[in-house]
Every structure is written in C-alpha cells, then in structure tokens.
Symmetry: C2
Subunit: 316 residues, 2 copies
C-alpha cells in the first residue's frame, strides 16, 4: 500500500473551476487519514481511485462550511456502497451536533460504525503505528491544527553483526530487534545497539487548518518532515488575512523557517489568485523549499535508511 | 435573458465520474428556478456561468442527501459573494429544521434574505408570470413533484385589423390587448377577439423528483410541454425500483404517453448504467420523443406563435 499525501481540494471558502474545497488525504499503508472534508470530496475519492472501504479517520479542523460540507455526502455514499469498516471522525465540539442533525433531517443510515470524537487542545490520539496530536489554533471560535507522527521504530537489524557475534538466529534476534538486551549461553551480554542501527525516526506531518500565524502551529510543525500551512492571501493583504483569521504565504514561510521543516506546502488558496506566482515568490524569499498545492498534487513518501524521502508529483 | 432548462446533475444516490448529483435549472427570463440541489451544484453554477446574483427559487423534491446536500454550500457561497437578492427555498417539512441546524452548526450567515417555505400537496405558488404547483409523490416519507406553468398570455394583437376597423392607436389598443371590449365614438362595440389571435398558451414543465409511477405525476404532467421524470432503473430491475421508490424508463415512458407531453426527459440515472442505450431503447418502445439527460444537457425554449418550440442541445 502507498505512503503518500494527495491534495483533494486546495481552495479557500468557495470552489473555483480549478480548485475544489479543502480535503487533504494521507494514505498511510492501508489507513486513510483525511484532513478536512469540503463539499465534493466524495467525488475526489472516485476520481483518484481511493478505495471506499479502507480504514478511514477524518480530522476536521473547524466547522466552517468549506471544511465540513462534504462530510454528509461522503458518509452517505459509503452507506450506499454498503461499507462495513468503521469510520472515525474527529473534530470540534459542534461536530457531533452537526452529524446528529444531518442524521435526523437527511438520514445518513450508516451501514458501518460511525464514531465521533471531540478533540481538545493538546489531546493526542494513539493508534497502532502512529499518533495524532491536536492543537487549538486561532481562527473563528474553535479551530484545530493536527500533527501526524509515525512512531519511531527500532533501527535496522544488522544480520552480519549478529552472525559475527555468534548469536543464534531465532527468538534472540527478535528480542534484540524489540530493544531488549540478551545473555548468550557463554555468558556474554549483547545490547541492542551492538546489532541495531540508530532508531528510525517516524514521519511527521503538520496541518494547520485555517489560522493566523500562531505559536501552536510552530509547535505542531517543529521538526516535521512536511508542514501543510494555509496561505489564503499574499502579503499585500496581510491586514485582511489577520482580520479574517488567515495567514499570508510569507507568514507561512516564516513559520516553516522557524520550525525546521523539510518541505512547506501552501494550500487553502483564495479564489482571487488565478496563478500562484505571487504566493510562491513571496514565500521563497523566506523559505526556499516550498510548493503551492494544486488539486491532485501528490507527495509520495519513501523511507530511505533513517529518513523519509518525498517526491512531489503534480497532477497528471 | 434566456429561456432554457440546464441539467446540472443527473445521477441517482451518488455521483459518478460523468454524472453529478441532482439539480435541474430552469432559466426563465431573469429568474432562476432550481429543482433539487445535490452536492456540487454551486460548482455547476460556476461551470455554466449562472449568475450568482439572479433571482432564485429552489424547489426541493425531498430530503434525501443526494437532493439537498448542495444547498448549504450554495447558500454560503452566495454570502461570500455578498449577494443581496433574496433566495427562496421551497420543500418538505424537514427543510426548515435542516437549514436551521446547518445555520447553528456551520453558520451560513446569509448576506441576503433567505426565505424557507414548507410545501404541501396541492399547494400552488403564484408568481408574476408563472405559478408552481406542488404534488405529493410516492418516495420515502415526504416527497414532492412540481409543475411550472407560465401564465397564459393574451393572443397576438393584429395591428392591421385594428387599423382596418378604424380604432385609433393609443389607450383603446391597450384595453383590447388586456382583453377588454371597447366602444368607439361611432357607437360600434369592438370585442378583443376582433383584433387578437387566440390566447398564447403558457409553457408547462413537470418534474417528478424521486417516485414510483403514480397518479399525482400524471396530473403534474398532463398536457405539459416537457416532463422530466426520474428513471433510476431499467425494466429488468422493476421490482427493485418499486421497493426503493423509483421508476423504470419504461414506466416513465408510459406516464408520458398517457399525459400528452411533447417531450420526455429521463434523469436520476443509477450509477450502474455506463451507457444509456438500454434506458433509451425500452422507453422508445412506449414513447418515441424521449431523451436521457446527461450533465450539461440544455433545452432551449423559444415561443413560436401559439406554442413553444424546444431545441435539445447536448453539452459541448
């Protein structure tokens, strides 16, 4: 299964002929993690061939329509397809009321277990191979940014070292791989570090949702491989951005530079920008490794030794 | 301004890569009348260049998600565009609760007057140049079909006849055009029929929403120029159609043949039909003047003498 990020929608507020409403999908092995679900996301699942039965967790940044109005249709279409795998939806306090009233007026009738979770500032959800941290950001009454963290894994097991040390293949190898020290029959103690490379650092991704530049975002982004930051406006509209609770491309670049991320992806682009040159230009002056997302942009992830490599693939 | 019908979405239940969720737009001079508003309709407005500030009445057939989930996004985008013209939305009893809960959880914040009307079986809404009749149809708990009727207009005023009869140009002509008899100075009584052609019959359009074949639809369709009938399935799935509250193409054709409509348009096509040949074939055996709608299909309307002519224009 792939490890990749797919930008399903990259507009702000309203769709344009080129940009759909927000939705960013992280495919993590068999799991799907969807950040926000604007109107039309169910159609993007079809367009991009995303399996409708795969395990899915949806993290909603905030309750503005452009970020959540695709949720009912997606959940309903899953029912029409007779989905059985549970769906988990995480979001602000109003999320449950929203889903409840949709169910009572439209009747979603889920054929699967639909679980709603209310997130809080600082809460961390722990899953098998990753965790997701929620931080309150500054936009409207209740908005969250998220950090996806793959759990660190033990380092590479060097079989040649194990053989050279005379450790018999089998359960002892397994214990060393799990980080335990072992004692051989001849009395020697073998430490994991004797046969393992350095721990393999997990992949880290931060997503801001909508926000003005804020400390919580810097914390979410600290040391992340990729920071997906909203950049609704350019610097000439900095005041408008602040008043409306948004970030400029330059401000996002500044956050990226302070947070030691490897790649900054700007998204949530105002409909006023027919081309993204102005956004790219002002961001690059502050932080060079930046791309402005477009619908269909895919970032393929591949572990190479201790680190992840990524490859940015524009929509074909 | 144009007189035309534009099919913005023609799928059933869920979208496909070729068919969006239901929405049928009647452009009647400057007015827009939208029947149903599935997810994604706001984007269709952009794609087809439908002015976002034009007077708009939306008639919702029923509260299933595929027919109403585009409503919040459309209404919200109007606000982002600072619309000032009122929007009227007509539909079943749950419509008001639906809009209310969307407002309380998402916050539509309309910049215009948003009026919600609860329709009833047999109710007729009277507007300046047309009226819309609502009839309860048989699908789910509360579903409606609609009939648009342009009001009949007085016949053509034959100026040559008026001049030959020695009627002085001016107010007397106007009174005759409005259907009043007049008395000339020489004592002669002139009746409207002496100078007017036969009354010009108004355009009539029936739309079923979702339903099994039923008497109410026949009444809505009686003598209509165009009947837009749902045809979710073909005859081989007639039992499924009945159980799920839908109509087959053959059944819709039968209704059309009994109702003396001029053109039957089938819509709300199940995703299972990759081509529509089977639907067309079975309908044509019963009623020859039928087309299966596709997204973007447009029917241009033009008055020719006493009748309307229509021209079916596939999407370019």
């Amino acid at each position: 299964m792939p490890y990749r990020i797919v930008f399903l929608g990259t507009s702000a507020g309203m769709p344009t002929l080129n940009r759909n409403l927000p939705g960013i999908l992280l495919e993590w092995d068999s799991d799907l993690i969807l950040f926000d679900c604007g109107e039309g996301i169910q159609l993007r699942f079809m367009e991009y061939g995303i399996g409708a039965g795969r395990p899915l967790r949806i993290f909603v940044s905030h309750m503005h329509g452009d970020h959540v109005l695709g949720l009912p249709g997606l959940l309903q279409t899953f029912s029409l397809l007779d989905r059985k795998t549970p769906v988990e939806v995480y979001g602000p306090s109003k999320l449950e009321e929203y889903i409840h009233c949709i169910r009572s007026t439209i009747g979603l009738n889920p054929t699967y277990d639909l679980k709603i979770f209310r997130v809080d500032d600082g809460r961390c959800y722990d899953f098998e191979s990753y965790r997701i941290l929620c931080r309150r950001v500054q936009h409207g009454s209740e908005s969250y940014g998220y950090r996806f963290e793959e759990k660190d894994r033990p380092g590479v097991f060097y079989t040649d070292k194990a053989i050279a040390l005379g450790i018999p293949r089998g359960p002892l190898w397994k214990r060393l791989q799990l980080g335990e020290s072992i004692k051989l029959d001849d009395g020697r103690i073998i430490e994991p570090k004797d046969v393992l490379g350095p721990p393999r650092r997990g992949f880290k991704l931060a997503y801001t949702g909508d926000t003005i530049p804020c400390r919580a975002v810097e914390e979410l982004a600290e040391g992340a491989d990729i920071l997906i930051h909203e950049a609704t406006f350019t610097e000439d509209l900095a005041s408008k951005a602040t008043v409306e609770g948004h970030t400029t491309a330059a401000q996002a670049a500044y956050i990226a530079s302070r947070s030691s991320v490897k790649l900054l992806v700007l998204t949530h682009i105002s409909a006023r920008y027919v081309t993204v040159d102005a956004l790219v230009d002002e961001a690059k002056r502050i932080y060079s490794n930046v791309v402005v997302a477009e619908d269909g942009l895919t970032i393929e992830l591949r572990r190479m030794g201790e680190e992840y490599e990524y490859r940015v693939v524009p929509r074909i």
